[in-house]
């Protein structure tokens, strides 16, 4: 009955909402009053305290008044909309129940009326009891309406959690798990839904339905929301789900909203592909036709779906190697010796070790490193006192990927020890005694990508010879005086030009 009024009269709806918003304030009055009346009643009946019936009756009167006003305010508040219908209805009738039974309990006790009503003494306690119980249930539902269902018990600790048969606390999804076998993955369940969970479902779920849209179930995606169906099977370009992602981020209709983490191009490509291919609920990747566009996106899923397949190619395989965490004591020993020890990244146990702060590091300390032979991936021993003896130990660091030996006394003999290091990609031999023979010896190493031999005994002719044999290997010998003179010639043009322009 109020709806038409609300629609036409902004004045009224403002007043309604203004009063309505006092509901949470008012509602606590009858709760407190009723409970205190109930306690007094129990105390009085068990003879623990002396309190007159009229006191309790007085409190009941104010409970009833409070409950009545809370009901009115609550109703006005509900006109604002946005609440779950069923829960709201429960809450409303429970609230009205509180008011009604509080009035009944007061009436049958009141000095004026109690004699006019039959069985008044028999009605008193049930009415009082019901009002009290309804206060609690209505209060709980009210809490659920404001904070969402399950708010109260969301963080129930163990062991009560298992006793109550509740599922373990679930963390919000923050990452897409890598898929081991892409071809056998069910497109909707394993690819589409996880993307939606990650970026969309937070605002479009059972409890929160922005734009009346839910994206947590396929049927509900198809059903859509205020803006029409979420997708049009077979037509990704006309599907809201895709269109909104592709709008400029500044557009109001863009999703996810500006400032929220966005879908990557690969993720959009995957969603479009799935829609184009019929938006099936149970088809596997292998059953659908793959466009060129979606192939790299699918490939990226094996690593969590967030990175471009192309970016992976140049990364060394070692970075995806899973090794056990190094022994804490061994790592501590390295740190104590003055070395820097850091993990390469958070999701793996590979470490880098640097002796930048310990120029006196020498052969006798190498034993410290070999106890971490699985973990040490990057090793920086440039400018230390190590000799060939150390290289024998280094050859046991089987996952070594980058090795800095510049400004040390190592020679070809020591270098030969490193040939079995299959992951070694980078080796810095600047300012060492390495000769042409040493370079030729290690150049055949399969994984090797770059060798730096400036200021060593390696000659330019050897460098160009080896470079021809291994064209993919970068060998840098750097500048000598002659090369610098050549480099400086580049500036001839500007010198003359400036001379012309600037007096």
């Amino acid at each position: 009955m109020f709806y038409p009024l609300l629609q036409v009269s902004g004045w009224f709806s403002n007043w309604a909402l203004f009063i309505g918003r006092f509901h949470p304030v008012l509602v606590h009055l009858p709760i407190g009053f009723l409970l205190i009346a109930a306690f007094l009643e129990v105390g009085r009946r068990t003879g623990k305290i002396s309190v007159s019936e009229s006191t309790i009756s007085f409190i009941l009167f104010w409970s009833a008044i409070g409950a009545t006003f809370a009901c009115i305010a609550g109703y006005l508040l509900s006109l604002g909309g946005g609440y779950e219908e069923e829960l709201l209805s429960d809450h409303k009738w429970q609230g009205i129940g509180v008011a009604v039974f509080a009035w009944i309990a007061w009436i049958v006790k009141s000095d004026l009326l109690k004699f006019k009503i039959p069985f008044s003494t028999a009605i008193y306690l049930p009415a009082f009891g019901l009002a009290t119980i309804l206060t609690m249930t209505a209060g709980h539902d009210g809490g659920s309406l404001t904070h969402g269902e399950g708010y109260l018990t969301q963080y129930t600790p163990e062991p009560f959690r298992s006793i109550a048969g509740m599922p373990p606390i679930t963390e919000p999804v923050t990452e897409i798990k890598p898929i081991a076998n892409i071809e056998q993955a069910v497109v909707y369940r394993d690819i589409v839904q996880p993307i939606l969970e990650l970026r969309c479902v937070q605002c479009h779920n059972a409890n929160k339905q922005k734009g009346d849209l839910r994206l947590d179930q396929l049927a509900l995606i198809l059903k859509g929301g205020e803006g029409g169906p979420g997708l049009i099977v077979g037509k990704s370009a006309e599907s809201d789900l895709i269109k909104r992602c592709l709008l400029p981020e500044s557009d109001d209709d863009h999703m996810p909203p500006k400032g929220k983490p966005q879908l990557t191009n690969e993720q959009i490509a995957l969603l479009s592909w799935w829609i184009e291919q019929g938006a099936s609920a149970d088809k596997k990747v292998v059953e659908l036709k793959k466009s060129d566009l979606v192939k790299p996106a699918l490939a990226s899923l094996s690593s969590g779906g967030s990175s471009v397949a192309g970016a992976k190619s140049s990364e060394s395989p070692i970075l995806h190697l899973k090794v056990q965490a190094g022994n804490e004591k061994d790592i501590e020993a390295l740190k104590k010796a003055g070395l820097i020890v850091n993990n390469l990244s958070r999701d793996q146990n590979l470490i880098e070790v640097s002796a930048v702060n310990d120029p006196n590091f020498g052969d006798n300390q190498m034993g410290l490193l070999t106890s971490l032979s699985d973990q040490i991936t990057w090793l920086k021993l440039g400018g230390t006192k190590i000799t060939d003896a150390s290289l024998k130990e280094i050859s046991r660091l089987k996952n070594l990927n980058k090795l800095h030996l510049e400004h040390t006394g190592i020679t070809d003999a020591g270098l030969a020890n490193l040939k079995n290091l299959q992951y070694l990609e980078y080796i810095n031999l600047v300012d060492t005694k390495i000769t042409d023979a040493g370079l030729k010896n290690i150049a055949s190493m399969k994984g090797l990508k770059s060798v730096y031999v400036w200021k060593s005994a390696v000659t330019d002719s050897a460098v160009s010879q080896v470079s021809r044999l291994y064209p993919k290997l970068l060998i840098v010998n750097g500048f000598n005086e002659a090369a610098v003179a050549q480099f400086l010639k580049a500036g001839d043009s500007i010198q003359t030009a400036v001379a012309e322009k600037v007096p």
Partner: protein
């Protein structure tokens, strides 16, 4: 005795009236609330998680970093991309013609008023290297390393004045108070060389317009702020011992001061005190290490020739050589500023003809030398070099106050400019993004300042969306709520 105690208890209880109870209730609850409110303002804020020396230790990056160190070369004032890298032959034809109305509608410029004339490129362009990178005759040395470089030609920013644009570029916000890129980098990866600051700043030609805030630590602990070293004279002022003070006495002094500071720390638990203690110790070590690393007299002559420096000069070229020496010593982030690139056409030094040519002449050779030098030392792979300014310059000639400028000049331009990166995990010999045929707007693969920042953090091993610091009740990040990693430029 027992009686006495009882009496005391009784007296105590008598003194505790209901008033006391209410008072302590009110005050206690209020204090609780106030405490949580003030938590982010006071000295005992979230900073206490990682004070002082401990703070400089590395945190673990999200993924293995490709760039372990950064040299960021900022040309303060903003050189013209249209004279250096963004070749626009079409603009030649428009030279001297009125600017099309569509470029001016709803636009604001720092100085241009009314309808300006278009200004054709003042330099000669050619393609260089295997990658065919377009470069002008202003930068003949850079041509020799064309195949090491990734250009981003459709950069754009939000600010058209120097100071706010520089702040945005370095701190992610045009307003004061945010930590700079270098501060974030040292906060994330820690400092390796214990004798040198992790973040060193070298300036030539003048100071950046936005002042020290462009290399400040913002709300990060101050231990992460950039330390500016001078290039002539004492590298760090007051770092050498005064006359009559020997090193032992200095050590004793510092020990005594630190002892007092430690006591104060135990009392008030302000982590900034630990920062101070570690700075004192660092300064003491720097007395030895800084003069050593800043001393170029031991460099061979041909290296000095390559950069074009003479010992004792405080030039940009010297700063490039020092930058190499610093990253060689595992300094995490070296920030170079060179001031004087603001080519409005107002004077002999500030224009896009002779003035810009002269600035290039001073900087082109050392920059190319720096790339070559790092490469031959095996450092370029792990060191990211970034070159750029706070914005670009207009394809129109500046007409300040409706007058014709004495020299060819261009106004500040935020819709399109060029930056480049080299080493540290970016592609070699690559160009990303394009501008329209007059170089006014980016038309393909535009890169916003926040995108660049996201990419730099990515190269250093950090997911810019997860790399945050709690301050005043929320998590802050360099890119705030924006930024996308430009994966196309990553090797």
């Amino acid at each position: 005795m027992e009686k006495l105690l009882k009496e005391l208890q009784y007296a105590e209880l008598q003194r505790q009236t209901r008033r006391h109870f209410l008072q302590s209730c009110g005050f206690g609850l209020g204090a609780l609330g106030l405490g949580s409110l003030l938590d982010s303002c006071g000295p005992t804020s979230a900073k206490s998680a990682m004070p002082g020396e401990e703070a400089l230790k590395a945190r673990i990056p999200h993924f293995a970093p490709k760039a372990k160190r950064v040299i960021y070369i900022h040309m303060a004032g903003a050189p013209s991309q249209l004279e250096l890298f963004d070749y626009k032959p079409e603009l030649v034809k428009y030279h001297g013609k009125d600017c099309p109305a569509e470029f001016l509608e709803g636009k604001k410029f720092a100085f241009i008023q009314g309808v300006p004339k278009m200004l054709g490129p003042q330099s000669k362009f050619k393609q260089y290297g295997q990658s065919g990178a377009w470069m002008s005759d202003y930068v003949p040395y850079l041509q020799t390393v064309a195949d090491e470089i990734t250009f981003m030609k459709a950069m754009h920013t939000d600010q058209f004045n120097h100071a706010p644009a520089q702040l945005l570029m370095h701190t992610g916000s045009a307003r004061l108070g945010r930590p700079s890129l270098g501060a974030w980098a040292t906060y994330g990866l820690g400092s390796e060389n214990q004798n040198l600051p992790g973040f060193i700043v070298l300036a030539s030609g003048g100071q950046p317009d936005a002042g020290k805030s462009v290399y400040g630590s913002g709300f990060l602990p101050s231990v992460y702020q950039g330390v500016q070293c001078r290039t002539g004279g004492d590298p760090v002022l007051y770092v050498s011992d005064p006359n009559g003070m020997n090193r032992d006495m200095r050590k004793q002094t510092i020990n005594a001061i630190n002892e007092i500071n430690k006591q104060t720390y135990e009392e008030v638990q302000d982590p900034e005190i630990l920062t101070r203690i570690s700075q004192y110790e660092m300064a003491f070590r720097m007395q030895m290490s800084v003069p050593e690393v800043m001393d170029v007299s031991k460099e061979p002559q041909f290296i000095l020739d390559m950069y074009g420096v003479k010992p004792g000069e405080g030039t940009f070229a010297m700063n490039c050589l020092l930058a190499r020496k610093l990253v060689e010593n595992d300094v995490r982030f070296v920030q170079l500023f060179d001031w004087g690139w603001d080519g409005h056409g107002t004077s002999k030094d500030h224009n896009v003809e002779g003035g810009l040519r002269q600035k290039c002449r001073e900087s082109d050779q050392p920059i190319a030398a720096l790339i070559q030098d790092l490469k031959m030392r095996g450092l370029l792979e792990e060191t990211l070099i970034i070159w750029g300014a706070e914005f670009g310059r207009t394809p129109m000639q500046e007409n300040r106050n409706g007058l014709v400028m004495p020299f060819m000049g261009r106004d500040h331009h935020l819709d399109a400019f060029t930056m480049w990166m080299a080493g540290g995990g970016v592609k070699q010999g690559f160009s990303h993004g394009e501008t329209d045929e007059l170089g006014y707007y980016g038309v393909k693969d535009r890169v916003h300042v926040h995108d660049l920042q996201a990419t730099i953090l990515h190269l250093m091993g950090f997911d810019h969306e997860k790399f945050t610091y709690p301050f005043q009740g929320r998590n802050f990040r360099l890119t705030d709520t924006e930024g996308k990693v430009i994966r196309q430029v990553i090797a």
